[in-house]
Symmetry: C3
Subunit: 357 residues, 3 copies
Amino acid sequence: MISLVQTTLRGRDFITVREWTREELETALGVAFDLKRKFAAGEPHELLKGKTLFMLFYNPSLRTRNSFECGMTQLGGHAHFLVPETVYRPTLKEAMPTEGVVETRERISDSARVLDRYGHGISIRIFGKSSDWVYGRGNLVVREFAQWANIPVINMECDMYHPCQAMADIMTIIEKLRKPEGKKLVMSWAYAPSPWKPVSVPQSVILIGTKFGMDVVLAHPKGFELDPEIVNEAKGYADTYGGSFEISNNMEEAFEGADVVYPKSWTSLAFLPPKVKEPNFAAITELLNKNKDWICDQKKIDLCKKGVLYMHCLPADRGAEVTDEVMDGPNSVIFDEAENRLHAQKGIMALTMGGRI
Amino acid sequence: MISLVQTTLRGRDFITVREWTREELETALGVAFDLKRKFAAGEPHELLKGKTLFMLFYNPSLRTRNSFECGMTQLGGHAHFLVPETVYRPTLKEAMPTEGVVETRERISDSARVLDRYGHGISIRIFGKSSDWVYGRGNLVVREFAQWANIPVINMECDMYHPCQAMADIMTIIEKLRKPEGKKLVMSWAYAPSPWKPVSVPQSVILIGTKFGMDVVLAHPKGFELDPEIVNEAKGYADTYGGSFEISNNMEEAFEGADVVYPKSWTSLAFLPPKVKEPNFAAITELLNKNKDWICDQKKIDLCKKGVLYMHCLPADRGAEVTDEVMDGPNSVIFDEAENRLHAQKGIMALTMGGRI
Amino acid sequence: MISLVQTTLRGRDFITVREWTREELETALGVAFDLKRKFAAGEPHELLKGKTLFMLFYNPSLRTRNSFECGMTQLGGHAHFLVPETVYRPTLKEAMPTEGVVETRERISDSARVLDRYGHGISIRIFGKSSDWVYGRGNLVVREFAQWANIPVINMECDMYHPCQAMADIMTIIEKLRKPEGKKLVMSWAYAPSPWKPVSVPQSVILIGTKFGMDVVLAHPKGFELDPEIVNEAKGYADTYGGSFEISNNMEEAFEGADVVYPKSWTSLAFLPPKVKEPNFAAITELLNKNKDWICDQKKIDLCKKGVLYMHCLPADRGAEVTDEVMDGPNSVIFDEAENRLHAQKGIMALTMGGRI
């Protein structure tokens, strides 16, 4: 599969796996695997020599920031770590203050067109409070940058998608299971006390899983439904790529016979704008607290296929989403998965920011 | 003009265009144009391989930070993004706390002499609140670094000067108009609600314009007079370099027949120390509000010569300083101007931080 | 001495000079001197090409941050400047919040194992408030990283040790005095108004001094005793390496005939946990204020051997720990000492993060 190559990715944005064809995603994975081998063997691969990535973090990050910054160094370039407050907080036109102090804001259309002239890529992380708790607004910010910058825009996690995580996930699944087709992947909700974890990871995982022909089960308690448009897209991928897609409200049933489980907490879109006027964290917390038994413990792992992969994007809420026993146990592939962030992103950057000969 | 070269710029500070001769400024522009061509053509130019620039930002920045950091990467080196709080806030001797906690401050004389040993250049941005609203104190901070460090000090905008902006501006004017001599440049005040925008840009623009033989008109409402010493210097340049310098209190009259207009808000020095004891923002705001008609709109652009260049250092206060129509219209060269920050600064860094063979 | 080489330092942590043999420390110094010559002569030395150091600063820093970041650039790699808040604040297991919001914390065991996959070294600064004022807890944080990361961990100053400072110090002493053996080094307490300066520097200086055969005198008022275990270790080194170790409560007596004096303020461990339940800064301040005469002035310098070296790790409390006259006088070697941070650390990084052929 990995020998497939598309040569037309230069200059492309990477905002969601929905907008790249299966062939394009496979091309990126192929480059990622190649760069991972070079990294392991100490073979230089300065494909982005002297080039710059602007990383704009409206939210904190350990893995994403460090894997992108390392990745650029390894590719011979450099990544700027930009915190909004230090760069006049690039802001959507409609969210600009209408009067008074504007020293602290600048329209994205202006910021993006300037960065476009200096460097070679822009990557953005924005969700939750940073986009006023309105589901979809973080994605709008990413798209606004993409609209105004000619250089590629890479989504480092918005409120809808985390495509780089999805690429690292499928890369890990391919490494461990060889062929994803026909394997059962359970993207499950899990309990955590915080009411604002974004849905970007589960939405991206069901998309990438079905796009690679897996039998995907999305499991969650009632009230934690994902964006129906994305669920529909995943169903369509299941039809197109020969896998399946099901929704379950029972964690145990879902885990039965699974090859991969991915239990992770997320918020309830039902209590966030635009569904409601104001975010209702009290209601979300009440709903969370009814489902504390949605923890991934050894008993649940034992329901799965022997050798099942336990996956998580990290950071995980130990003791809530997962027990230490599982997270540090033999089924856990979380550090391989985290490492693949580096290689998957290097693949994407090399293809979009690099140049064909 | 650009073929002129001075070879003695290694180790020189760049604090204001006043302290570089016309020949030295032209040398920097010549290198800037050459590096811009190399950038466009993808030709490596690692003139500062392994070298370090320390960028100290007492104030936020999008263009300056990213253009310097990108520039160093493209030249083969690296720029440190330093926020004062993380480096014991280098401080003038007279502004050091006299008792109590001093963990958060260090004398500039000490900080500068240390950085001098590690790297190859220091660049500083400081104005407004960061220099206690006292006009000239930001410049003192930059000069204090220059006094103690042997490595070059580059002014990334103080309360008096923004010389890198001026270099990008004249570079843009040369690109668009070929010869600046005899062309009419209007540096005009414009309305914005914030009472603390520094005078560094207009002061630098009238200096560079007259130093390159342009017919410069400085336009502003009464009460927004610039530093008389700098105005005098500009008058002297007009005499020396064959241009002219005039002051107008009427935006429309000033715009008539202009080749370049640069409408931008700035504060009133009359209500800031040392002119008065305490900054009087209420008085400045009152003065601002009397002049809301100083906006650059299409009607004013139509007074200028056909094809007039609309310039701005950014970020601009859309709807106050300028209408969207003008800023995004055919006369606007703001993104070319912003891009030239990168190339102009690379020219200056290559000459001052680099080495002659 | 500097011709001695140990070839087994790849992958080693550098947390305290106690854990490296005298031969290993000399190997690092040898590389440091060699890299310093190359730096001076402009000879490239990209020993860590494309490699990454993760610098985690729980406390501010001028010298440490800039010398490490410059050092990595000069070695051909790159250092990430990480502030805890932007990377989910890596935290000891026992200090993790047990309920509520955990978005802002991640267990060190998880953070360390992720960074381990992306780059080539982790360096940490943590003391005082950042480790809850509990003496030894900062060191625990550094050790926790070392336990979980396979890549080298370098201590950039914890509450117990500042080994990189000690290496720069002994390097400076060797440069100035040629042979440290038999020379008198006075590590002296000095007055400063702040009650929380860590003991890491004096503890590291008495260790390195005795380990290199010097006659070390530790001078301080009663109440400022260092960690008895470390004092004992220093005594042992004096026996092993042919020097001596004494404690004095009289600054003047201690200074008599000194070759090197290192007067520096530090806190009282007697009023900090675990000695007491809560930090008692009022008591420390009271004790400090009784000893304002412990200032290093010219009169005290005159008690020393002619040409005595005045040393300080910086930032120094001018007017409290030391007079301007001494700090800026002919005996002061503080900027050579600060510079050697760069070279000493490059030596350590090249050996631990680099690869033997």
